[in-house]
Amino acid sequence: MYKYDQYDQAIVDARVDEFRDQVRRRMAGEMTEDQFKPLRLMNGLYLQLHAYMLRVAIPYGTLDSRQMHMLAHIARKYDRDYGHFTTRQNIQYNWIKLEDAGDILADLATVEMHAIQTSGNCIRNISSDQYAGAAADEVTDPRPWAELLRQWSTFHPEFSYLPRKFKIAVIASDEDRAAMRLHDIGIQLVEREGKLGAAFYVGGGMGRTPMIAPLIKDFVPIEDFLSYSEACLRVYNRYGRRDNIYKARIKILVHEIGADEYRRQVEEEFAHVKTLGIDPPVAELERITAFFAPPAFEAGITDSVDRSDPDFAVWLDQNVKAHKQAGYAIVNISLKKTGDIPGDASSAQIDVMADIAKDYSFDELRVTHAQNIVLPHVAKRDLYAVWQKLVEADLAAANLDLISDIIACPGLDYCSLANARSIPVAQKIAKRFADPARQRDLGELKLKISGCINACGHHHAGHIGILGVDKKGTENYQLSLGGSGAEDTSIGKITGPGFDEDGIVDAVERVTDKYIQLREGDERFLDTYRRVGFDPFKEAIYG
C-alpha cells in the first residue's frame, strides 16, 4: 500500500488548516452559502436532507486496518455510529456537524486520509479494481497508476472548476470489475510487445444520459500517461458545455463533436502538453510501484479447504474468489444481509473488518463499487476462521452478485437530490427473494437502484435496474433490463410505465420468473435476456 512521505503529509495537513479556515469564515459570515458551497463540496461536505454529509476518500478503494479503525472512530465520535460505503469506493457519514468538520479532517490526516475532491466539479476519487494485486488476470497492479493520477489530480490548478464532476477508473484486466467504460475516463492498462501502456476510453457515464465511453486511444505509452490525461482534461475544460448543467459532462462533448474529433483535439493538445515536462521521471513511477509490491505470501501452504460445515461451504462458493497466489483466496464481505441498508456498516462492524484484515489479510481491505468490502489476501487455511468471525459480526451473508446483493443509493431517505426512496425498495426485494436457495438458483443477477436520474445507484448498468422518479408528488419506480457494468458494458432499456413500491417488487419477480422459464443451460439472467430479447420480459411484466 502507498505510504505518505513528508510531502504528501504536508499537503494533507495544509488542507486541514485550509478547510478549518474556510469553515471559520463561513461561520463568521465572511462568506455566503453560495460562495462556501463549492469550497465545501470540493472537500466532500454536502448539505443533505437531515444534516451535513461528509464523504471521505478511499483512494482506489484500498485501505489498511489503521485507516479502517479510524473510519469507525469517526462514525462513533462525530456521527451516529455508522457509515455508508459508496459506489465510488468511498465512505460517507450522514450526520456531520459543520463545526466538527475541521476536527474530523485532522483525525483523518493522522492516518493518511482526507476528503479532498470527493465532490465538486473537479477530478474525483480515482476508482479501480477491488481485486487489484490479487487477481490472476491483471497485466499489472493498476493501483500505482491510480495513485499517480491521485497525486496529479490533487489540487490541479487548471482543473478545479471543470464544467462538471470528473470520474476516472483504472483497471488492468480484460474482465472489468470497476465499470470502467461508464466513467468520464476509463483506463485499461495493457501490454504490447512487452511494454506497458494504457487504453483510454473517454466520455462514458450514467446519469441522465447514459453513454458507454468510446475508445479514444488504444495504447498510450506509460511514460505519457499524465500528459495524455492532461490533454484529455484540457480539451474538456475548454470546450465542455457550461450552458446547461445536464449537458456539461464530458460524455456530451464527446458525443456532440464525435469521438474522432475529440481524439483529434486531444492528440493536438497532447503534442503540445508533452513538451511541458509534466510527466514524472521513471524513478517516481518506481517509487510508487514499490509500495504495491505483493505482500510476503507463504509458499507451499495448503490449497485445500475443509468444506464439511455446509453453511461455510455455501459462503465459500459464493463470496470467495480465486487468488493469483496458490494457497490464498479473495474474500468478499457482503454488506447486504437481508434487511440491511446496502453499504451501511456500524462502527463495530467496521472495527471487526479492520481486525480481521490485520490478522488474516496482510492488513489490507478494499471497498468495492458494489458497496461491499474485500479482504484481498486470505490464506485458504484461514478461511474458516475468517468466516466464523464474520458470522459473529453479522457480516457473513453469502450473496455476492446474487439478486439481494443490491447496489442502492441513499435515495430520498437521506439525499437532497433524490426523487424517491431507494433503500426501502432494496429491502423489500431482498426480503421477497430471501430464500438463499432461490437466490442461488437465479444465479448472478445484478440489481441496482437509483433514487433519481443522477444514477448514483448505477441503475443503467443493472441487469435489472430500478429508477425512482417523482410522479405528481408520489414515489414511482421505473424498471429497466439488460444493463451491465462489466466488460460487456451495456445500458439497460426501460420496460414501460413505472410502479409503486410494492408493484416494482412484483415486477422484478415477474422478470425473474420469466427468466427461469426461458433460460437454457447455465445461462445467467443477462445471457437469457440478450438471447431472447426484451419483448418476452415486457410481456411478462405488463401482460
Partner: protein
C-alpha cells in the same frame, strides 16, 4: 399554508420557523403567509439558518404537514432508520411520510 424551513448553520439540523425562532419540530412551524421572503432574508443574513426556503404545507390536527414528500422526510428523519428520527418510539412513523 406556507412554512419556512432550512438547516442550522453549525449542526446542519433541519429547522422550522416558529414565528419567533427556529424549532427542530415541524409541529411548531408557523404559517408565514406572504412574509416568508423577508423573514428568510433576515434570518439567513444573521446566520440563524442556512439554505432556507419556503414550502407549501397543509394544516392538520397534528400540525402542519409539508406538501412535498422530501420535506416530510426532512421533518421526520430517514424512514429506514426510525431509531434516528425524531419519533424513534413510533414504529409506524414512516407512514406519515408517504
Amino acid at each position: 399554508m406556507k412554512l419556512l424551513t432550512g438547516n442550522d448553520l453549525a449542526s446542519g439540523a433541519v429547522t422550522w420557523w416558529t414565528g419567533s425562532g427556529w424549532s427542530l419540530h415541524v409541529e411548531d412551524a408557523a404559517d408565514v403567509g406572504d412574509q416568508g421572503d423577508s423573514i428568510l432574508a433576515t434570518e439567513e443574513a444573521a446566520r440563524r439558518v442556512n439554505a432556507p426556503y419556503i414550502i407549501d404545507a397543509v394544516a392538520t390536527p397534528q400540525g402542519p404537514r409539508p406538501a412535498h414528500i422530501k420535506d416530510r422526510v426532512r421533518a421526520l428523519g430517514p424512514t429506514v432508520r426510525l431509531d434516528l428520527t425524531l419519533k424513534p418510539a413510533d414504529p409506524a412513523a414512516g407512514n406519515w411520510v408517504i
